[in-house]
């Protein structure tokens, strides 16, 4: 199973085994990883599942859609080049991911 490593704004890390096909957001929320709110449940409506993706991992992800790109401008902590909405990142078999959650989502 792929492993997602979540690092919070204070530097604390948690490794979570993810089911391929699930999103990085779903994997966090279902397992009680703090730092990702995801009010809208992944329907790209709230911008409260913002993460910074490790640069090496970033290149392996599918590109940002127009709607995700617009939503990223509204995150509580300003977007950076590595910003993604974690509801839009699907985990695939054999791929480990490393993400950092911002200090706040709202």
């Amino acid at each position: 199973m792929p492993t997602i490593t979540y690092t919070d704004a204070d530097g604390q890390t948690r490794d979570v085994q993810a089911t391929p096909g699930d999103s990085v957001m779903e994997t966090a929320v279902r397992n009680g990883v703090p730092g990702i709110v995801a009010e809208c449940g992944g329907s790209l409506s709230c911008a409260t599942c913002h993460v910074f993706v490790d640069e090496e991992d970033l290149a392996t992800l599918p590109p940002v859609s127009d709607m995700e790109d617009e939503m990223l401008y509204g995150t509580a902590v300003d977007r950076e080049d590595t910003s993604r909405l974690s509801c839009q990142i699907r985990v695939v078999d054999g791929q480990d991911l490393h993400v950092t959650t911002p200090a706040t989502q709202v």
């Binding site: 699930d22 779903e26 929320v29 279902r30 397992n31 009680g32 703090p34 709110v37 009010e39 809208c40 449940g41 992944g42 329907s43 790209l44 409506s45 709230c46 911008a47 709607m67 617009e70 939503m71 401008y73 509204g74 709202v106």
Partner: protein
């Protein structure tokens, strides 16, 4: 062991239990639901789940291991029918099956139920409502035999379902008694945009149209007879005419209720102990500048989460007043509608439109004060308005009128109102 008993395991109840654990609360928590399913998210039932683009498993709030790992006693399939409560807020809840659940403190997260249509034919097989997973499962199970659908009610649920069913190739007629769509939640310009869009996708929308009765074909629904005598053929009728808050339990234990369980800014009911959160709770209007004494009852995910948070703080002994800006979303086929704030009391509106991209935002003002926005396929506008309202900032009417300007770029500190003492 008694501790906190949360009755209702949908968004509000789940948010209360998980917020308490996130705050470090260690007391016993029992989360009691009356459905046979593990706690799940409802919004997608009329949208992505119905269209088949997300799985049932993806709707679950938490993994199965989360609950025991966090010391939350999750109980499914128990409907509370009676509560004995002492003056100190403790008591025992009795379920229909005869089980008893003792509590030191009770939280009602019992939600709302669909308003039932009262007329001939509503008990026919094939006349459905859409509120919970079993409703959605029945709807999906019937679809293979369905060609013509009549949706009664042009609110969020009705339109979302109509859009999904159209996507699935069904012939959909939507009947709404009011002269416009979603009249309760959005302004006229937004209604007009939605109407034009949904008609363009093939949904037949009949506004200002009343239903007289539902007709049978053998022992099944066969059609919908309108007030003018016309009969619309229907293999399936979906009714979405609003919801009624579940206040029965609250009333039975003497809590004050009026369109919901009356609670204060911290989600505490009239007995000073019991909490009510989510769709069943009626609270002081949290919008900045709201008229004193004004009360609201929200039916939204955001409210369920925010109210659960203040309730969690109250349980841990910390007073935090509800202060969030209400927001709502509704995905209707290609339309993504996002609403921030409450437009009640507005005296002028501003429309920003990019017709080529199907974008439209309507901003609602009272004088210079921005109150709310309905945003269609315009997440930037939505997020800018939500942020401005949350932070008490202003988006001047004149500056916002230019659709080329980004609202975030013209957001500025709010002027101190004349006469405000500092």
């Amino acid at each position: 062991m008694s501790g906190l008993l949360v009755v209702g395991s949908s968004q509000a109840g789940v948010s209360l239990a998980t917020s308490l654990r996130a705050l470090g609360h260690e007391g016993p928590i029992t989360l009691l639901g009356d459905e046979r399913h593990r706690p799940y998210q409802r919004p997608a039932l009329s949208k992505e789940w119905l269209q088949g683009t997300v799985t049932s498993e993806s709707l679950l709030f938490r993994s199965d291991s989360y609950w025991p790992e966090h010391g939350i006693d999750l109980v499914k399939g128990e409907r509370v029918i009676r509560v004995d409560k002492a003056d100190d807020g403790s008591g025992v809840a009795h379920s229909m099956s005869g089980a008893q659940f003792a509590f030191d403190r009770l939280a009602l997260a019992v939600g709302a139920r669909p308003r039932r249509l009262v007329m001939e034919g509503t008990d026919l097989p094939g006349v459905l409502y859409l509120r919970n997973a079993d409703d959605a499962l029945e709807l999906k199970a019937r679809l293979p035999d369905v060609r013509d659908v009549v949706v009664i009610g042009g609110g969020f649920i009705g339109i979302e379902a109509a859009a999904s069913l159209t996507t699935l190739g069904r012939s959909v007629t939507l009947v709404e008694a009011a002269p416009r769509l979603v009249a309760r939640a959005v302004g006229e310009q937004t209604s007009a945009h939605l109407l034009e869009h949904h008609r363009s996708t093939g949904i037949e929308v009949l506004l200002g149209t009343s239903v007289r009765r539902i007709t049978a074909r053998s022992d099944h629904v066969g059609g919908v007879e309108l007030a003018d005598g016309r009969v619309l053929p229907a293999d399936l009728v979906l009714v979405g005419v609003g919801v009624v808050p579940n206040t029965g339990l609250a009333e039975s234990i003497g809590l004050n209720c009026a369109d919901g369980v009356l609670v204060d800014e911290t989600a505490v009911a009239s007995d000073g102990h019991t909490m009510a959160i989510g769709d069943c709770a009626n609270q002081p209007n949290p919008m900045p500048g709201a008229p004193p004494g004004d009360r609201v009852r929200f039916e939204s995910v955001n409210n369920a989460i925010e109210q659960a948070k203040v309730a969690a703080y109250a349980i841990t002994g910390r007073r935090e007043e509800y202060a969030g800006i209400p927001w709502f979303w509704s995905n209707q086929g290609a339309v993504k509608l996002q609403i921030a704030g409450l437009s009640t009391g507005h005296d002028r509106t501003l429309v920003r439109r990019d017709a080529g991209k199907g974008k439209q935002s309507v901003l609602y003002y009272r004088g210079e004060r921005l109150l709310a926005a309905d945003c269609i396929n315009s997440p930037l506008d939505f997020l800018a308005v939500k942020a401005a309202l949350s932070k008490g900032l202003a988006i001047p009417f004149v500056a916002a009128a230019d659709p080329a300007v980004q609202l975030k770029a013209v957001t500025q500190p709010a002027p101190v109102p004349v006469g405000t003492a500092r």
